[in-house]
Symmetry: C2
Subunit: 112 residues, 2 copies
DNA sequence: CCGCTGCATAGATGGATGTCAAATTAGATG
DNA sequence: CATCTAATTTGACATCCATCTATGCAGCGG
């Protein structure tokens, strides 16, 4: 999926969101709309050096390995994380820009 | 309203997210994981006085009124908006705390 | 070369979700 | 009271999604 250059930081109460932008954004939130994926993201973000080995991401959940792999794929395709193979193991880390963009979305300037 | 006093601002790379917290948060993101609901939220947030009449929220979409009503209900149940009836029409506005909480989630202190 | 382990992919299935048409509630007005 | 409009609720249906088992692929060690 194209990484379609996100408009960086359009706030939610700013200019009206276009249909396309809404679809693209909804895709990101769909990736976040699952307890397992949220915890995965949390584990990765809070991991040593901002990364985590897949081998450590399977045990905390009462789920099969393929299921975890599936969730990681969803997060990856949403542009929230990226993975890298180092020898036997695969490591994932968060994509800072993706999270920063979301933070900007919820900034409410008009709320004095 | 269950209300469940959100832990305000736990950042994503902070302490490990509990199962319960993850489920609750995922519920909020599920509400955001739809283009129509994102545009609705955007329209409401950018409306005059930070609110919008339902009568103005139906026309921008090529959807039936019940469908819009359904989406508004989802956003309301997620604690993202709240509605009020004034005479003939119903007006919705965003819940600032809900958005602020999300903004805090994506703040990445460790990413200097 | 062979087997073992870590991770991903493929296919199948039960449950959740977006949508609509029809019926219902609430306010306003004649 | 009768009726019109605004908005929600209900019920049905098609689609999507999380999960599993089984299979495939890549490194590592004997």
């Amino acid at each position: 999926m194209s990484k379609s250059e996100a408009p960086c930081c359009a706030p939610l109460d700013g200019p009206v969101l276009s249909q396309e932008e809404a679809v693209e954004l909804a895709g990101v939130f769909k990736a976040l709309a699952d307890p397992v994926r949220l915890r995965l993201l949390n584990l990765i973000a809070s991991g040593e050096g901002g990364e985590a080995c897949v081998c450590d991401l399977t045990t905390p959940f009462d789920l099969s390995a393929p299921t975890i792999s599936h969730h990681l794929k969803v997060l990856r395709q949403a542009g929230l994380i990226e993975g890298e193979r180092r020898g036997t193991w695969v490591y994932y880390r968060v994509v800072p820009d993706a999270l920063t963009r979301l933070a900007g979305l919820f900034a409410l300037p008009a709320l004095a």
